[in-house]
Point group: C2
């Protein structure tokens, strides 16, 4: 039997999400449950994959299947596609396996043409509705299928409205709309050189192809990369009989959530528009009414919707996000799905659902996306600062959190400014999917138009960016790159602050404070901690970071980078003195000055961590990083240091490297200058002994970086242990310490059995390991990685998400070989991947003892570790 | 039973080389065969290893064993150690498993002190001999054991001789020598602050320790690194009863080879000195007599020696290098070993021994060190150039081959100049082991003193460096850094040319021609070719190199680097035009200009290779390599290109990379600029089609560099095949071609199973693979590798000798996984390791199809491949 590519809604169910996409599977499920769903059929994700493998064509076989299902649909709804007497109109919507809001394009009212529109007008006795539907169709079809931008049509609408002296679309008459259709078609002809397609079946197939194509558009690719969705999943296409929210005041359309997606509060939450089609709500063009008002407008419809919403949440055991349309007082459900929510809401809903007996603690832990926690961990405005701040304007509190920065008015400008190191607030009339990279680059988003379910609001919540939407107080001129409030003008580069939890916009930079993590968050994280077996440590170099890490639940420090201490202002002169030293004696003199400073650093760290493990890495970067290179800087420094310019310049030139990444750094420094390693080891142990006196037990972990060969490690370890054992013996104390290594050079992983003979622990340095395994440096890869994403060679950034295939294979080898030599070897990871959920899951699967990440990512790693445990248990691993 | 650390000569045999060292095992073997060997005992290599593992002390247990054997030796020879009445004197010599000529230090006449010397004088009635022996002992013991340089003693000798108005040591009287001993002891006391050791047993143990220490001296380490000898082998120590060549005119000492080590000619070859001790011959202080003259001086001794030499060669089935001493007309054999020989001699001897029925062809192939062939493959002076050249001076033809360069007078200066890219001739009074690095850096070596078996001659032959030794015509002043011939002075930096095959020294730079490889060489290489299964290709970019490769027996081109073509003067302007192009159109225009040039390059290559396989790699280096960086150069180029300085500067800055090694290069260029790959693919295939018309079948192999992910390869391969298939179809010809990849990024090796789905061949690029696996770049590693050698972290340069443990593991994985996916995948190596014998052996063990190396290394690889096959067969693999 050949593969089936098209399914009627009545042929599927919720379990078929991979094949039918999320939307299609849920439409089938709602059909099965007997809810009022306009019927239709789904072209599968496999048809999409085949479209691409066939070279971007839809095979005749699939077209025949679509025709068949269309005939069956005509039978079900009793209308005929393209028949002016009783026309079947359809919507064409994308629907991937994972929800990709705003990413894929939708076409409504397909099946209309010059004769069908007349028939529809006659049949409904509502020519205004018929032409409104037709002009919408022309607009959407042209935009999505034929690449004639929607905004050009909007301009025509504006011209007509101006000419007529009206402001609302609803004030346009049937005749106006008919004229508009004529102008749209003219415009189309002018753009494309051919008439607007009149053949409904051709419209349909072209629309299906457009949905398939849209799977591969740049913003879909960016979204997938941000959300780890493989490009070979493909999207399904849902073709559904149209119901109309734009037939008059007995009709409407809306979006609602079973619980508040912003706070998690258990209460129906949503918006609707009377006499409108679905896209109007989402696009935020008209500001909609609250869902509760539907009770006054159409009480019966409201009651029915409340009942359905309750049943859906009960059925899916999660908060639902639903779209509906009311056609002449009859309710139709167009979609349901597990709703996107803020981190705060996600946790409250998860905790509440456990309290309501709906789900288990494990399920609650699984229901929250770890990446979302980021939003909870970011700062809010301090109460003190707020007292003094001036509220400029207020909009909708669309995505919580506080942010401040310089305003930019295009996504492109925002991205550029952020890359230049600026904090950015992206200000837009309204956002569209094209803006997604700009939104990601911004600290916050402010829009003048759109509601709580507008594009800006939905995407910002998903990203954990704060957002104030629909802020009617401001007038945005994207062209002039400024916005005005009253008569005050804010040009590009002006500072503002926005509070996505209150909707307030402030002038200037308002001081922020860090998040308090209590209540539901504490309860929820305690569940995660109970479940997980993987420990979570933090990368922290100074006591302040160590304290933040402890606050976020870190169970130790996995990486203290001692070079960060070397860069501080009070010691860099001594470090430079050490570097320019011409003899061991001179160098030792400088090191003797550094010793008490380093010791104090470590005392602070040990004190802050209060007995939790602390892994300290010996000096790693090449020495030239501590010296300037530009002649004027070298000159200035030479004067400061009291040596000749020529001498200092010679040192700088001597230290120059062609590939610093692959240069004289890591343990290679300790091999050439063992006295540096000895000084650091001394500082660590003396600090540990001093802090131990206060009654805390400390087991320092001394980590030797960039080892590629066991004899390197042997040599440096020997320097360390000789120094340390001498100090311990002289102090007459008992002190245990560990000496281990980073696994960050491929050869270390490949020879891990031998390296484990010397190393008491391994810490995977996946930043460097990724660079060397791929053979590209992070600093240089920017120049070509965009091409790699465009051409789908890479689907995610290997520096953000661990490459399990290549780098992961080295890690697995190293873990296995290391344990063979030393069964109790401690294994951890301290690359940035330590805070990435999918990478954490991989680390769990390797049986690592801990992951270490930046303090702010500690809760994310804790949750990801718990999810990894649950998933592994469920998979029987 | 505890381990035995000391063996009498009568307890060992030749098979115990690993334990007794080469010298010790052969002394034992000669003892077993009944030859006249002064008896003694050997302290094993394991005692040396233990000395180091015990922290550089000799354990009491070993000292006791030495004492025991010494007593036994006293019994055997009927003399007593330290007994003035009948003293036993001994020599202490090092002897490692592999012969390390000149590397280890020797002490003669040990056991002498102020009373024993008197006894010896009385006993022999020859006070001159006794004091000569004692002064030699003081000199050697001070130098080797106590670190009081020998040259300081030589200065005292010179003073005494000058004072007495004599020139030859032999003219010194007993009284002179007695006075000399007194001055030596005074000098010693002045240097060390204590008396010269008088206790023979203390002398002995200190001497043994000194031999052990000398195993770890810098020049021994350098030699080991150059010859791949592991430092954990250790050296044995041979303690042998002294016989004396310095008792008068009935005594003497000499060195001889059973065949000519320079030409391989079957005739006894050697030198001797009357009334001398062994070191005199080797050190080249007096110019010795030819061995044939011994027949006149002592016919019976000569006949006996001839007989023994014949028997030894027959026994060892190889040319022997023997040391002997004649004491009062009695012959003693002090050493025999397989003799070092020139490449030419090695081949002649191997071929002759097969002809004489002494060894098999396999053994002949094994007997020649592949690295030695290098010497045969280097140029000689052209006859034409010689006609016009002026012979400055003539010395001994110590090591064949021709070389020219600037003269330098210290090893250090020679190394520096060579690193700066200069061709260097090292000129020395005589060389010593300290000079070894300078000799290695030089194109040739010229010494004023010393014979054919002097240090300079022996070492130069081993290295394949040409050498003219004992050139009395020149007067060298190392201090003033010049030499004079007559009244002509040659200062540092002057050009000379030397011919190590004739002994001539020429003024200026004499033109050289390449070697002719015929006769024995052809026969010998044919045996190697019959045996080996691994193919040998060459890395060649231009027809000239391809021709050289064919002449050396290459079976194809394994790597043609197309970028080298881009750098040539007539095309770099077009390449730059391509780089600064602002649009695809502009770039395409430049590529269109490059196409015919590239096509012509490839036509030349295909024509030269006449149907043998040719692997062509697409553009690899980052584009900035084609542009200047210094402002003045950029300015000049901008004028030349007719664009503004600012524009060109901006391009240069835009292309700047932090780590070019890990940057935008290899297939990453083809991903961003597929049009470049398309142009190159077109040029290759059009060239192949054109050359095919002449009747040659060509199967081009297109190689895509720096692949780390199969999708990269897929993408670029797709660009290539689309281009190529179109051309082939349009031309209406049949043409097969292969598309494959370099395996040079660790991730490629780790995912080789997937990469083999697309790649029809793998070529291991072990230069880059080594850099990335170790995480250091070749350009930068120089700064720390010396420390790594010093500290024994590395024993060989991983860029010269393949790291089988780490890099090799990746290769083995890739080969195995690649074959799993594609059983008939073609596997080769094109890194520089392809010409390194040990690496070739490893490639054979992986079952690679071919190695590819520089044309001059092709014969080396052919021989190494044959040896690998024989060794694997013998090991039953």
């Amino acid at each position: 039997m050949s593969k089936k590519y098209v399914y009627l809604f009545s042929e599927g169910d919720a379990s078929m999400k991979n094949l039918l996409g999320g939307k299609g599977a849920n439409l089938a499920e709602m059909t099965k449950l007997g809810f009022p769903v306009p019927q239709g059929f789904t072209v599968t994700t496999e048809a999409c994959t085949r479209y691409y493998s066939d070279g971007k064509v839809i095979s005749g076989e699939i077209i025949t299947e679509i025709d068949d299902k269309l005939s069956q649909l005509e039978g079900i709804v009793g209308k005929k596609f393209g028949d002016p007497q009783n026309p079947l109109l359809v919507s064409v919507r994308s629907g991937a396996r994972a929800s990709m809001p705003g990413m894929m394009d939708t076409i409504l009212n397909l099946g209309l043409n010059d004769t069908v529109v007349e028939g529809l007008a006659k049949l409904t006795g509502n020519p205004r509705f018929a032409y409104d539907s037709y002009r919408r169709f022309i607009q959407m079809f042209s935009d999505v299928v034929m690449e004639v931008p929607k905004s050009n049509f909007e301009r025509i609408i504006d011209e007509i409205k101006e000419h007529k002296g009206i402001t609302n679309d609803t004030d346009l008459s049937a005749e106006d709309l008919k004229a508009m259709v004529a102008r749209f078609k003219d415009y189309y002809h002018g753009q494309k050189g051919s008439d607007f397609p009149q053949e409904p079946k051709e419209q349909l197939i072209e629309a299906v192809k457009a949905v398939f194509r849209s799977w591969d558009n740049p913003r879909a690719n960016v979204y997938r990369r941000m959300n780890d969705i493989p490009s070979d999943w493909g999207t399904a296409v849902n073709i559904q009989a149209m119901v109309f929210g734009n037939t008059g005041d007995d009709s409407g359309t809306g979006v609602a959530f079973t619980r508040n997606p912003s706070t998690g509060e258990k209460a129906l939450y949503g918006e609707f528009l009377i006499n409108a089609q679905g896209e109007d709500v989402v696009a935020g063009i008209r500001t909609p009414q609250k869902i509760a008002q539907l009770q006054e407008v159409m009480p019966e419809v409201y009651d029915q919707f409340i009942e359905i919403a309750g049943k859906l949440e009960q059925h899916y055991r999660d908060m639902q996000d639903m779209e509906f349309t009311i056609e002449n007082k009859k309710l139709y459900m167009l979609q349901t799905r597990n709703g996107k929510r803020t981190a705060q809401a996600a946790i409250k809903i998860a905790v509440d659902l456990v309290g309501e007996g709906m789900i288990s603690k494990e399920q609650a832990v699984l229901n929250v996306d770890p990446k979302q926690l980021d939003a909870l961990l970011h700062p809010t405005f301090s109460a003190q600062a707020l007292k003094e701040a001036t509220v400029l304007a207020t909009g909708l509190a669309a995505s919580p959190g506080a942010g401040s920065g310089k305003v930019y008015f295009t996504a492109e400008d925002a991205v550029k400014a952020a890359q230049g190191g600026e904090k950015v607030i992206l200000v837009r009339l309204e956002t569209s999917p094209e803006d997604i990279e700009g939104m990601d680059a911004a600290s916050g988003i402010l829009t003048a138009r759109g509601g709580m379910t507008s594009h800006a609001a939905v995407v910002a919540r998903g990203m954990g960016r704060c957002c104030v939407a629909g802020c009617g107080d401001i007038r945005v001129s994207e062209e002039d790159k400024c916005f005005t409030v009253g008569d005050k003008c804010f040009a590009e580069g002006s500072y503002i602050s926005i509070d996505g939890s209150t909707g307030h916009v402030y002038e200037g930079c308002v001081e922020t404070i860090k998040a308090e993590l209590t209540g539901d968050f504490g309860k929820f994280m305690a569940w995660a901690d109970e479940i997980r077996t993987l420990k979570v440590r933090a990368n922290a170099d100074v006591p302040r970071d160590a304290q933040a890490a402890m606050d976020f639940g870190a169970e130790g420090i996995g990486l203290c980078r001692t070079e960060h201490m070397f860069f501080e202002e009070d010691r860099i002169p001594v470090v430079r003195e050490m570097i320019v030293a011409k003899s061991l004696e001179q160098r030792q003199k400088a090191l003797d000055k550094l010793l008490p400073i380093q010791r104090k650093d470590f005392e602070g760290l040990f004190t802050a961590m209060n007995g939790l493990p602390v892994t300290i890495r010996l000096l790693d970067p090449p020495l030239h990083e501590f010296l300037p290179t530009a002649d004027e800087d070298v000159k200035a420094l030479s004067i400061e240091m009291g040596i000749s310019f020529e001498e200092l310049k010679a040192t700088v030139e001597d230290l120059h490297e062609f590939n610093p990444m692959l240069g004289h750094r890591g343990c290679r420094l300790a091999v050439t200058y063992p006295e540096i390693a000895a000084m650091q080891a001394r500082a660590i142990i003396e600090a540990a002994i001093n802090v131990t006196k206060s009654g805390v037990t400390i087991i320092p972990e001394i980590m030797i970086p960039l080892v590629g060969e066991v004899k390197e490690l042997q040599y440096v370890k020997d320097v360390v242990t000789k120094t340390v054992d001498g100090i311990i013996a002289a102090a007459g104390v008992e002190m245990t310490y560990l000496v281990g290594t980073m696994i960050e050079v491929p050869r270390a992983a490949l020879t891990a059995d031998k390296i484990a003979e010397e190393a008491e622990f391994f810490s995977f340095g996946t930043n460097d390991l990724t660079q060397m395994t791929y053979g590209f440096s992070r600093d240089d890869a920017g120049k070509f990685l965009d091409y790699y994403y465009q051409k789908k060679i890479f689907e995610s950034d290997p520096f953000a998400r661990l490459d399990q295939t290549g780098v992961g294979k080295l890690m697995a080898m190293a873990a296995q070989m290391g344990r063979t030599t030393r069964p109790d070897i401690k294994l951890g990871i301290c690359g940035e991947h330590g805070g990435d959920p999918s990478s954490v899951e991989f680390c769990h699967s390797l049986g690592l003892n801990y992951v270490s990440c930046s303090p702010y990512r500690v809760p994310i790693a804790r949750l990801a570790a718990a999810q990894a445990k649950i998933k592994a248990d469920r998979a029987g691993k």
